[in-house]
Subunit: 196 residues, 4 copies
Amino acid sequence: MTRSSDTLERLFDAAIELIGEHGYAGTTVDEIVARAGVAKGTVYYHFRSKADLVSALLEDGLRRLAASFREETEGAQTPQEALRALVHAELAYIQRYQAFSKLVMSEMWRVDRDWQASVGMLRAGYVSVFAGVIAEGVTAGAFRAGIDAQTSASAVFGMIATAALDWLVFAPEKKLEDVEPVIRALVFGALGAGPA
Amino acid sequence: MTRSSDTLERLFDAAIELIGEHGYAGTTVDEIVARAGVAKGTVYYHFRSKADLVSALLEDGLRRLAASFREETEGAQTPQEALRALVHAELAYIQRYQAFSKLVMSEMWRVDRDWQASVGMLRAGYVSVFAGVIAEGVTAGAFRAGIDAQTSASAVFGMIATAALDWLVFAPEKKLEDVEPVIRALVFGALGAGPA
Amino acid sequence: MTRSSDTLERLFDAAIELIGEHGYAGTTVDEIVARAGVAKGTVYYHFRSKADLVSALLEDGLRRLAASFREETEGAQTPQEALRALVHAELAYIQRYQAFSKLVMSEMWRVDRDWQASVGMLRAGYVSVFAGVIAEGVTAGAFRAGIDAQTSASAVFGMIATAALDWLVFAPEKKLEDVEPVIRALVFGALGAGPA
Amino acid sequence: MTRSSDTLERLFDAAIELIGEHGYAGTTVDEIVARAGVAKGTVYYHFRSKADLVSALLEDGLRRLAASFREETEGAQTPQEALRALVHAELAYIQRYQAFSKLVMSEMWRVDRDWQASVGMLRAGYVSVFAGVIAEGVTAGAFRAGIDAQTSASAVFGMIATAALDWLVFAPEKKLEDVEPVIRALVFGALGAGPA
DNA sequence: AATGAATGAGACTTCATTCAT
DNA sequence: TATGAATGAAGTCTCATTCAT
């Protein structure tokens, strides 16, 4: 038990990092096990295939993400506060799990993978939280009227993700504190949420 | 000459479509030549390697994109008009070259590819046009003051790309005319450009 | 003791069935333990190796076969009666231990296995009984003169085995009572043993 | 074309010999290509898989066998002559293609292989020729009345094959001329075809 | 007496690339 | 200009075996 959970964790960490960096097809099982410090057969003892490992890993990431979302938005009193918390949660998550985030972005619009369902759930989870907050804000008169919650939600999610990865890849010297206000202003403006 | 350019075009089309769908590493030379209807050796007669083919293809896409941008923004009189034209150009381009766009998005934050330079140029081209329009708009007092043009540009570009691909992949029944106003409103709001 | 012999029996049954069906190399230890309902390590607690398990299993089969032969031929008064009993014994054995019989036939002329000696003994046991009865029958004038007992014995054994497996695999709806007379007539004719 | 047919022939010869000796699962692709003197990838250029190679090889053997049968039985005037020719043809074939024959015998009653259909055809071809000759002989009054042609055919085929392989594996010093009369006498006796 | 997570050599297979035509 | 048979390094996966419990 102890050995097992250790092993799985090491495999997940190694796989996330490498696949986030070089993509699924660009990462070999040899590289994963080398970084995890286990033998090759161990992967196939725990998973049916390389693709199966990635599926499990995506579901694990999903669970972590949901947890982080719940924690950060719990105490919000107004739609603005909730939106602000969401922006922060997404940025913090991408910063913390940068490799995983790259992996998700590069597999997001793929239609031919075994884990398509997993990514679909991941996306639905993300987006529906945003959509809920937006719908609530529109109803409450806090955001601009006439906004389509679904389309806006995926657009805002994408804006934050793109901006965050651009930041981390092309301007890693900047700090979260510098980047967050800029992005928050864009998001609040986009949704007509007033000055951030 | 005629035969050759035919061959190249067929190879490009096949490669763009397949790589857009399955990624670079997930697409084989065999698949490309099968779809293009040419023999395998033909690729290596025209290109030094598979990576070389992709580089050429990216540069071709870049040229097409620049042309489309120039055409669409040429007659703009105000920053708002220019911004509106850019939103339209990006959406139309992604709709027309969906596969190529997926390819770009999934290779965008990769740091280990031979054509990294090409993608970098592509991105710089895209973003700098946006940045220029935004900077001009801020200077002219048309957009919100205090906006960081570089960060905003990449964020806005990402928002449009994400929304567009979500649309094409997950809700392909919608039409450009329905989607464009929603996205335009978000962009204008984000930049404080007044009602779209 | 009780537990152990249970375990061994379960392992034997599982191994015979699977190896009879898919061959030695085509059967994995994982499959054997899964069917036997024991853990993988158990095989290596009881046997030195997979080949060792198969050797033990062959010797077990050999013992069973010898017992069945003894039982069935014990009361024979004439060479004809003995031959008739042998034909029945072989058919009944193959019907009862079909999987084991397939295993024997498919490993019979192999020259590169660890248990070659076991199979050799098995074959020698089988064949020498037949050869003894044939020699006796020739001496007694009951069978055709001038028959080479050794060659005839292996030929007759093979005829019965082939006919039996063809029956069980390709025409399993037939019953032993229908098949036995046909085969017995062929054997008696082959050896000039008069009308069966 | 020239290269290709050479390559395929070399692969076939190597595969037949090795698989006949060590079985399908006991033979590696590495061994096959080493003996054939080609590169590993060549197998997978010509065949989808190792199993596919074996299927092709079995069909090739089938064709050769049918040809040899036709040649040898063509001029027979009586059922006895035809039977005599068949016995000779089978013995000669097994002697010439010993490895292939072992392969067939060890895969004959397997029910889980991709090439099951091919082996089925092979068997049907063999057996139906025997059955035809036997039926004809019974009708003509040349063989014992009341014989079931189908069962007898497979039994006789099996007897010859078993005797032949026993001879080649366990008493290779004997010559075809010594073995053939013994086996022929058994076959003629079995079918009541009079003195061979 | 029995377990099952872990191993690693070696199996099958893929695929970018070469080259004689 | 184009072909396609052939290559071999490198990939994914299998499986008999070990060992701490």
